[in-house]
């Protein structure tokens, strides 16, 4: 199995696993962890699109032969920052929900109908 297929497989597994966790778990914290796993999978996928086995950083000096594509890495950096912001937002809403309901279980939060 070559490296590329392995990375793509791992990325897709992480994305699907994350969505499954977010969709099936009843605890809000676990749902947010699921979202984070999904985001990691997406970031891995982005990096993989620009990855070349044995490539180096794209710095143009005399010695380079193969370089990886720098754009996906820049994108992932942005995506990570956005992911952190979403997670922070989610956790701060969850804290408020816990204060109101004394529970993180979405079944116990009365008005929540999924």
């Amino acid at each position: 199995m070559n490296g590329g297929a392995m990375f793509y497989g791992a990325a897709i597994a992480l994305i699907i696993g994350g969505i499954m966790i977010a969709a099936t778990k009843r605890n809000l914290i676990k749902i947010i962890i699921g979202l984070n796993i999904m985001e990691t999978g997406v970031n891995l996928l982005l990096i993989t699109t620009g990855y070349i086995s044995g490539g180096t950083a794209p710095i143009m000096n005399k010695t380079w032969t193969k370089v990886v594509d720098p754009i996906p890495q820049a994108l992932v950096l942005t995506a990570i920052v956005i992911g952190v912001a979403v997670t922070a937002m989610a956790l701060s809403i969850v804290v408020r929900i816990y204060e109101k309901n004394n529970s993180l279980d979405i079944r116990k939060i009365k008005e929540m109908r999924w």
């Binding site: 997406v42 942005t78 809403i93 929540m112």
Partner: protein
């Protein structure tokens, strides 16, 4: 020359200026927000006017596309930019006389950022840039929805957050796939390279984009968040959801499925999901006991209708869809703001509590009826012309099943709105009197004036929609515009 970047720069400046001075000078947020959004609207309107003659493109970093991020304002984006900024401006005008959500200064910072994100979505010509603006809009709307520390708003906020962040991750997957195939992120460049993209990759990316923006434009079955978010949010924010956030999502959906990935499958999927949303949402609205939730379902239904009409894809249909989108934005924002005034004064939420309010408060009743009749497409209102053009363009394509489903949904809609109007005008001696602040009512009066003027003379605005629908219909003109020159 007016530069589209100004909208983004001024908004960022205004938003963080509020945060900067709020420790020293309290309660200036609403004034700064009003001025900032007013300035945005001025820039946006002059851009829109200019783009009708020659489309405006702004590059960054001194490179031409596809090597730089670019902002494009052509007729189709100009119409959406005008909707978003006008509605945003009217909402900020409303908040001048209406108490904002607490903490007020932070609320207005978020409001400005939200509008900046929405106008960014509409103007950008770069796929990843679109994702970033999309996230700015989304994150600020999660905060705006849940800023009221009540159970319902927190619930609406977290649901919206979970569903929408799954959607945006799927969008990012689509971006990764397309970048892997084409090596570019420029929308026009990818669109030009579409014939060389692997067919199955293109299909997967198309479906992912469809799901991601179905979430944002409230299309069934990805709209589970919408009723709760509308119900939980403050009334001004419900108006923002109906008039700005969902419209930006709709723009992205249409731009990406018409220009970026122009697959033949699009038409069927948009029509089927759109009309399903319309029927299910209208039927759900029928049994609601709370006014805001009823309006929320009606809003979802209207978005479904607009998406279905966009799906037909002929120029008259596109024109009808844009017109209906504008009418929905105007009517629904007016309704939510009116409900906000009622809740501020009387604190009532149930449909039955509105008994006799319209009879006791003639101005309130008049504005309510105007907005409702416009939404229903009553003759001599702007909504009549858009509903008529929807029916004509559907009939012309021979889509009689779709036509009959639209009529069924519209009848349900008429039924519950007329029931609401009947409640408003019922005889009730105990109905309370409302203090209506004129400044607060100004945005609604402006929208009512728009409804009547366009209703009497639709020719004032239809040339604009004509140009917009031609612009989105011919994707090669967009590609030539951005990378051809």
């Amino acid at each position: 020359m007016v530069n589209p970047i100004l909208i983004i720069a001024i908004s960022l400046f205004g938003a963080f200026f509020i945060a900067l001075i709020s420790p020293f000078v309290k309660r200036t947020g609403k004034i700064i927000a009003f001025l900032t959004i007013g300035f945005d609207l001025y820039i946006g309107a002059s851009l829109a006017l200019k783009s009708l003659r020659t489309p405006v493109i702004a590059y960054t970093a001194g490179f031409k596309p596809p090597f730089s991020i670019n902002l494009v304002v052509e007729p189709f984006s100009a119409v959406f930019l005008l909707i978003v900024l006008t509605i945003g401006f009217l909402i900020s005008l409303y908040y001048l006389a209406h108490p904002g959500e607490e903490p007020e200064d932070k609320f207005f910072t978020l409001l400005i950022l939200n509008l900046m994100g929405a106008s960014g979505i509409i103007m950008t010509g770069d796929l990843f840039n679109l994702f970033v603006f999309f996230e700015i809009t989304a994150i600020s709307s999660y905060a705006l929805v849940s800023i009221r520390k009540q159970k319902a708003s927190l619930e609406g906020g977290i649901k919206y957050l979970i569903i929408s962040s799954i959607g945006s991750s799927l969008f990012l997957v689509a971006i990764a796939l397309l970048y892997g195939q084409t090596g570019t992120l420029n929308i026009a460049d990818i669109a030009a390279k579409l014939p060389f993209i692997n067919k199955s990759v293109a299909l997967v990316a198309f479906l992912l984009i469809l799901v991601a923006f179905f979430v944002e434009s409230e299309i069934f079955p990805f709209n589970g968040w919408a009723p709760d978010a509308y119900q939980g949010a403050g009334e001004g924010i419900s108006a923002l959801l109906a008039g700005v956030i969902s419209k930006a999502g709709l723009y992205a959906l249409i731009r990406l499925t018409f220009t970026l990935l122009d697959l033949p499958l699009r038409s069927k999927l948009l029509i089927v999901f759109g009309i399903m949303t319309f029927l299910i949402a209208e039927l759900s609205a029928l049994k609601q006991k709370r006014v805001k939730r009823m309006l929320a379902y009606s809003s979802i239904g209207q978005m479904g209708l607009v998406v279905a009409i966009f799906g037909i894809g002929t120029i008259p249909a596109l024109k009808a869809a844009i017109f209906q989108g504008v009418n929905h934005a105007v009517s629904k924002v007016a309704l939510f703001l009116l409900v906000g005034m009622v809740i501020k004064n009387l604190g009532i939420y149930k449909l039955d509590d509105y008994k006799g309010l319209g009879r006791k408060n003639p101005l309130l009743g008049l504005l309510f009826s105007l907005a409702i009749l416009n939404l229903l497409g009553f003759p001599l209102f702007a909504g009549f012309w858009s509903k008529l053009s929807i029916l004509l363009s559907t009939g012309k394509q021979g889509l009689y099943l779709l036509l009959s489903l639209i009529l069924t949904g519209a009848i349900v809609e008429v039924y519950y709105y007329v029931r609401f109007m009947k409640i408003l005008y019922e005889r009730n001696e105990e109905a309370s009197h409302l203090e209506i602040h004129l400044l607060e009512a100004m945005p609604i009066i402006a929208m009512a004036a728009f409804i009547i003027i366009i209703g009497v003379n639709p020719g004032l605005i239809t040339p604009l929609f004509e140009k917009a629908s031609e612009a989105i219909f011919m994707k090669f003109s967009y590609i030539n515009l951005v990378i051809g020159g």
